[in-house]
């Protein structure tokens, strides 16, 4: 019966061991791992709000330097941009009488203040230059004397040049004339000289009998002021070319801008009547064709410039003349909506076209005639597939470093909330380092990711149109795309109702574009 005693002792031990065994299997509780699963995480990526005013300024005038957009009281916007200023300074005219050489054939000689055709100067203020008197004494006596110019004064003192000329001597001393004023009622200067022998006898200075021995030379003259009479004369005024590049991209599609205006502003500080005569004014179209401008504002292709009046004490002032070309007085609308690329013009000037001899004119050394062409676009019109292309730098930021080994797919959600009357059809091509497109955002071509807001009868946006697009990418495709550093953006804009109506772009118009992502991850 010993085995029964043994059994009675062992059974509890075995029993407890059996029961307790599972509880000792603690390894199942230690460091368990999450099983394979597919989880999907959704989070926002970015949002941005594009203001139409900023966008239009960029799209329409990116390459122009003197551009600006003004917001009108009714919220509409007007785009202004200007070409470079073409000008004709008065100093160009001064060059024509910068100097001259002539002999004094007698003790009293005469010479003109200037030799400009049709110009009679009654006053000239010298700011720079010299006068030379060449004296050649052909006699056997030493001659003494002076030369006087009564019309040439400085601080009220008449110009006088004393001299002593030895027999056979040759004097030519330069004398600065800055500060002297030449004044004559008949555009004539008198040169009077007196020469005496030692005996006191007054004589004429001659190189040889019959040949004058005194010469006068003005050199490098510059004037600060000219006053006189300008007769009717025609001269070349301005010839210039303005590049009209309203977009740095290659535009395609149709755009219609309602009532564009081109304003020519002439700023004139020449102090006599000038008439501008348009010799040539044409636009050059996209295909190189010439599109002449026709307008009723030019009478015989000419227009009189406003000018500062001597009689009214307007010396130094600038007068402006604005010539506005719009759809009411020209074919500028037709020209502009054909998207011209260049404006070429040539204008001559006619002084005192009315030939009014009572007009006293003037020029200062700062007098100028300038012509500025300004294009003024009220942002109202329509567009259909108005295209723009641009290459953008890309940086996916943290997504570039994302561990995609567990990624199954991603789904981008692109949302636009558009408060403008413009739709945007877009495709984005992702470029590798060689600039070769490796993928595109949309599989089925460009998509309207932004749709125009509804418009009222005036063409202004009156609501917001929300558009959603989903782009799904398998992991491999996303891996390829996120490594790209550049993208080629091809966009086409179309205004509301497929461009069939004219819309008005308001400064308050904007569009919000935002994107979120769903990432499906497979954990194993």
């Amino acid at each position: 019966m010993h085995y029964k005693t043994l059994l009675r002792s062992l059974v509890p031990v075995l029993f407890v061991s059996f029961v307790a065994w599972p509880a000792c299997q603690k390894n199942e509780f230690e460091d368990p791992e999450l099983a394979e699963r597919t989880s999907e995480f959704a989070f926002p990526l970015f949002s941005t709000t594009l203001n139409l005013k900023d966008l239009m300024l960029k799209v329409l005038s990116d390459s122009l330097s003197n551009d600006t957009i003004l917001v009108n009281p009714d919220g509409t916007m007007t785009l202004y941009y200007s070409g470079k200023v073409a000008e004709k300074p008065a100093t160009d005219i001064f060059k024509d009488f910068a100097g001259g050489l002539f002999p004094l054939t007698d003790t009293v000689s005469y010479g003109p203040i200037d030799n400009l055709p049709g110009v009679s100067v009654s006053r000239a203020d010298l700011s720079k230059g010299t006068i030379y008197f060449g004296i050649f004494n052909g006699s056997q006596d030493t001659l003494t004397g002076h030369i006087r110019i009564p019309q040439m004064t400085k601080d009220g003192n008449v110009f006088v040049y004393p001299f002593v000329a030895s027999p056979g001597a040759n004097n030519a001393t330069p004398i600065p004339v800055a500060g002297y004023i030449l004044q004559s009622n008949n555009n004539v200067l008198e040169f009077i000289y007196e020469a005496y022998k030692p005996t006191g006898e007054r004589v004429k200075v001659e190189i040889a009998p019959g040949f004058p021995g005194i010469f006068v030379q003005f050199e490098n003259l510059e004037f600060s002021y000219l006053q006189g009479y300008w007769a009717n004369q025609r001269y070349e005024l301005i010839r210039d070319t303005i590049e009209i590049d309203i977009n740095q991209t290659n535009l395609v599609g149709d755009v219609y801008i309602k009532n564009p205006q081109v304003t020519m502003r002439i700023a004139n500080s020449w102090g006599f009547p000038t008439r501008g005569v348009v010799k040539y004014l044409s636009f050059i179209g996209r295909n190189g064709e010439e599109i002449p401008l026709t307008s009723s504002v030019f009478v015989d292709s000419a227009v009189d410039f406003n000018y500062p009046s001597f009689a009214l004490g307007e010396v130094g002032q600038t007068k402006f003349t604005d010539i506005t070309l719009d759809e009411t007085n020209s074919n500028i609308a037709q020209i502009f909506n054909s998207q011209p690329t260049r404006l070429i013009y040539e204008v001559d000037g006619i002084s005192n076209a009315q030939n009014d001899q009572s007009i006293v004119g003037f020029l200062t050394d700062s007098s100028n005639i300038s012509l500025n062409m300004r294009v003024e676009l009220l942002l109202e019109g329509s567009a259909r597939n108005f295209g723009a292309e641009q290459t953008l730098d890309l940086n996916f930021g943290g997504l570039t470093d994302l561990d995609t080994s567990k990624l199954e797919s991603v789904e981008f959600k692109i949302v636009s909330e558009n408060g403008s009357p413009i739709s945007s059809n877009l495709q984005l091509y992702f470029l590798d380092e060689a600039g070769v497109a490796v993928d595109s955002l949309f599989d089925n071509g460009a998509q309207f990711i932004i749709r125009a807001a509804p418009v009222n009868s005036e063409g202004a946006a009156i609501g917001i149109t929300r558009t959603e697009h989903f782009v799904t990418m398998p992991a491999a495709r996303f891996e390829r795309v996120r490594q790209t550093k550049q993208a080629y953006l091809s966009t086409a804009f179309t205004t509301a109702q497929d461009g069939a109506v004219s819309v008005r772009l308001l400064a308050s118009d904007n569009v919000t574009v935002k994107m979120g992502i769903k990432a499906k991850m497979r954990f194993q």
């Binding site: 230690e30 699963r37 990526l45 949002s47």
Partner: protein, 449 residues
């Protein structure tokens, strides 16, 4: 730092079968077992004078829905995998888990020669855990937030977990056929983790627009010797923790009382009742911290000025934005501004036994437990068969707050002075933890002379 042990405890909590408290109905029907003294200080096995209680282990764990260990865990070679995919559909909108573990290391008892007095001392290590979590927490952890776009997911879990050591001394007195007993328990807490029931908000909302995230927290939890720091500096979270089951601290102290009686009403009929953990609580002072997260954060992705886009500044820097996402759950550690106390569960047992024959007896048991606002009531009837003089088997039918029908059993081997037993209030699930949403068993051994 013993993160793995802490993790194990949490997992046990998750697995645990429903039991709003430690239900030990079967033990209360076995007055001849020395370890039944642990639920009634008046009970000493009849006819014995010396009692040496060996190790005893009891586990009672439950989950509020039909989630079992096997639903969550599966083996893949040597790996143990957690598969919530099988579980989420079974979860309720709000789920509770319970975990009560008692390890009785040693107990000694002696009765006076005249059998009128009984003295008992003992030591036990007890862990009590309760947790509550929304289904959405499991969903967002497993499936991510994308399937729940447009929904506000409340994901804040609640927990009240603590473990302590009981150092007990008890005395019983016999008055004729009536035994009454009382026990004083000195408590030394080891660790505690307790959420503030008034501040449990953690929510996440994913906007249908472009998935903007709105995150809100107003969440506070208290820790004693468990959580040292919550690090959210990276994309994930790291809890620097110590484990439960650590050394008790004499700064974390409390006390509790057990009282009970047993009356032999006739030769065959006896009744008993007890109340445990009266006034029981532990005040935590050792290494106590409060962790607070109170934020509201709206994340809408990178906000790129339109003028930058127009002018060609098109770099999207997501890094800095995502870093700030972690700030929302940034827990601030501080000293709690209120008393941090854990109440012990109040447990009341009552029942009776009727000796039908020399080998058969019948029993009735009732149990009520209350902790905070959580209660559990269980009633059971039992039958016991003395197969041999040293072998007894028993069965019990019981109903509790969760299920109306539970079959319990016990097996007691009593060769000589040795008492070895295993018992469960839930036979079908008691030892099949892998496939059961509820686990209940007790096993142990003792020497009685």
């Amino acid at each position: 730092m013993h993160i793995s042990k802490y993790k194990s405890l949490l997992l046990c909590l998750f697995l645990a079968g429903e039991m709003t408290a430690q239900q030990e109905l079967m033990l209360s029907s076995m007055p001849d077992l020395w370890h039944s003294n642990s639920i009634n200080p008046a009970i000493f096995p009849a006819g014995k004078r010396f009692f040496i209680g060996g190790p005893a282990y009891s586990l009672d764990a439950a989950h509020s829905s039909k989630v079992a260990y096997g639903d969550v865990f599966r083996k893949d070679g040597t790996r143990t995998l957690i598969d919530l995919g099988n579980v989420i559909n079974k979860l309720d909108p709000e789920n509770e888990v319970f975990f009560d573990q008692r390890i009785e290391t040693v107990s000694l008892g002696i009765r006076s020669k005249n059998d009128n007095w009984g003295l008992q001392i003992g030591h036990a290590i007890v862990t009590s855990g309760w947790g509550k979590y929304p289904k959405s927490l499991a969903e967002v952890l497993w499936y991510g937030n994308a399937p729940y776009i447009g929904q506000t997911l409340e994901i804040g879990p609640q927990a009240d977990i603590f473990d302590w050591h009981e150092w007990s001394v008890g005395l019983s007195r016999r008055f004729g056929q009536l035994d009454i007993g009382a026990r004083f328990k000195y408590l030394t807490g080891a660790g505690s983790l307790q959420t503030d029931e008034n501040r449990t908000l953690m929510s996440i909302y994913t906007d249908p627009d472009i998935y903007q995230l709105t995150l809100k927290t107003d969440y506070v939890f208290y820790s004693s010797s468990i959580v040292e720091a919550v690090d959210t500096a990276g994309y994930g979270y790291k809890f620097r923790t110590n484990s439960f089951g650590g050394q008790p601290s004499f700064q974390n102290t409390g006390m509790a009382f057990d009282v009970g009686f047993r009356a032999q009403l006739s030769e065959h009929l006896s009744i008993h009742a007890s109340a445990l953990n009266l006034g029981g609580s532990i005040e935590w002072k050792e290494n106590v911290s409060a962790f607070t997260s109170s934020n509201q954060y709206f994340y809408e992705g990178a906000n790129i000025p339109g003028i930058d886009i127009i002018n060609g500044s098109d770099n999207l820097d997501f890094d800095a934005k995502l870093d700030t996402l972690n700030d929302i759950f940034q827990f601030e550690k501080s000293t709690p501004d209120r008393a941090f106390k854990s109440e012990l569960p109040l447990r009341i047992f009552a029942g009776g036994n009727y000796q039908l024959t020399e080998r058969w007896s019948l029993g009735f048991s009732a149990m009520y437990q209350s902790l905070a606002n959580r209660t559990n009531t269980a009633l059971g009837v039992s039958a016991r068969w003395q197969v041999l003089r040293w072998v007894s088997l028993g069965g019990m039918y019981s109903a509790n707050s969760r299920t109306p029908g539970n079959l319990g059993f016990h097996l007691l081997l009593n060769p000589g002075p040795l008492q070895v037993y295993v018992l469960s209030d839930n036979l079908l699930n008691g030892f099949s933890a892998k496939n059961s949403p509820a686990v209940n068993f007790r096993l142990g051994g003792a020497l009685v002379f």
